[in-house]
Amino acid sequence: MKAFARRMIGIDRRIIFLLIAAATLLPLLQPFGLPIKVSPEVKAVYDHIEKLPERSVFLISFDFDPSSKPELEPQAVALLRHAFRKNLRVIGMTHWLTGTGLADGVFSTAAAEYGKVRGKDFVFLGWSPGGGALIIAMGQDLYTAFPSDYSKTPTRDMPVLEGVRNLRDVNYMISLAAGSSGIEMWYVFGKDKYRFEMAGGATGVIAPGLYPFLRSGQINGLIGGLQGAAEYETLIGQKGTAVAGMDAQSATHMVIIVLVILCNVFYFTLRGEKGRPA
């Protein structure tokens, strides 16, 4: 027993690496779909979209770049699926130049799933500089802020934008942000002035800092990190990458916990040995 414990306590760390790799990879390939507890702040976003009438205008701003892709892309996919299923008109845009290609890809894939047509059911406006100033410009006139969309089609007279002059005509908007400035900026320059309802989606690191906004009603809902994305996938009944990701999270966390417990068992087995073990 002691010999075994001694060998296990000094185990080759590459075995631990393999365990972690397996615990991550297997759930990704074959999700086991553990139950996900849906939090009220995610439910609020879902409920709001659920209540919107058909052909309402839904604006989604991709305020992140590829480094936050693992957490925010699943959120975007789930939201788009929900919006397309509800037959909303979806407008996409980004404040981050480096996130443009990624955002366009997400749009195309989700739209293809539901047979939605670019220019008629959705439009991806792409990137334009300015940050807060861009939001103000959109609040005054959408067509001067974005004369053409990402694929260089003129925005004026686009069927999807029928009756939309500026941000006041947006029914609901969500900013998926990798920095707290994304959601704050949309609130300060957009919602506060042009009175549309808005929500936020954020990476796990910055989500806790956004709860004050939620409590004060500045945003009506908040999707936080991969967990939030998994909750949204559960709500729309389409378990995707986030649920699989949360399974992988559960698995790796449990692997580490079991490893720590085992190493303490081995450690205490050895402790009786002459004085203190190395």
Partner: protein, 260 residues
């Protein structure tokens, strides 16, 4: 090229990305030629990238363009020549290439260090001292329905009981950092309390971070899974095979060399 394949730029990119990802991961097995290749390439690219970015954002955008623009104005305002100061200081930095006048670089050091020290002082007092005191000093009792009550709700961060715990934590950890007081007697008890606080907080922060680190791994694995599709020409499985075979061959070569 078969039709189901993606455009060549993306395809080549997927192969490069998948290959480099696997080369770097091979480091988890042990230091090996593939990792060395990836590592040196990575350092090279990052240095090249920094040089290009510095040239465009610093030399062109911050220095050259404003200078050229304001000198071009007639008459040029004296203020527009101010940018020559950092340029001169930058050149002093380069004096290090000539040992005889290398000491000139100290003037530039002094400028940088002086600025940093000055900027730090009031800002540190504001956000690390006053703000922290402000957030820690809270009344232990709250007035509710006309009566006084000591909030015993551990789940509410602002409750009286949590204020007390917070205060004990801050004071005991601060005491632990005292340098000119020996940790004996009552001092030892306080310092020990401080150490326990430190250890609990470190453990909690460690456990909390696991999730974001695993998210990174999930992200990488997801990319590798994407690249293993037919549209990408089965990049991941093929390159994984190449990596494993190379490692095996290398391992055999090393053993043979080390052998009798």
């Amino acid at each position: 090229m078969p039709e189901y394949l993606l455009p060549s730029g993306t395809l080549l990119g997927a192969w490069a990305a998948a290959g480099l990802t696997l080369f770097i991961y091979s480091f988890l097995y042990k230091d090996n030629p593939l990792f060395k290749l990836g590592e040196h390439l990575y350092v090279g690219i990052s240095v090249g990238y920094t040089v290009v970015l510095t040239w465009h954002t610093v030399f062109l955008r911050l220095l050259w363009e404003p200078l050229a623009k304001s000198v071009g104005e007639a008459p040029a305002s004296p203020g527009s020549y101010l940018l020559l100061i950092p340029a001169a200081l930058g050149l002093l930095m380069l004096a290090r290439f000539i040992p005889k006048i290398a000491w000139l670089s100290r003037i530039a050091f002094a400028f940088v260090v002086g600025f940093g020290s000055g900027v730090a002082i009031p800002r540190v007092v504001s956000s690390y001292i006053l703000k922290q005191i402000e957030d820690t000093v809270n009344p232990l009792l709250v007035r509710m329905d006309g009566g006084l009550s000591l909030g015993l709700d551990l789940a509410a961060p602002q409750s009286g009981i949590n204020t007390v715990i917070l205060l004990i934590g801050v004071v005991s950890v601060l005491f632990y950092f005292f340098f000119s007081v020996e940790h004996t007697g009552a001092g030892m008890v306080t310092a020990r309390t401080g150490i326990y606080f430190l250890m609990i907080a470190f453990g909690a922060a460690f456990g909390y971070t696991v999730m974001s680190r695993m998210s990174l791994l999930i992200g990488r694995f997801r990319d590798l899974i994407t690249f293993s599709g037919a549209a990408y020409g089965y990049a991941t499985p093929i390159l994984l095979g190449v990596t494993i075979v190379t490692l095996a061959l290398w391992e055999m070569a090393v053993r043979r060399r080390a052998g009798p």
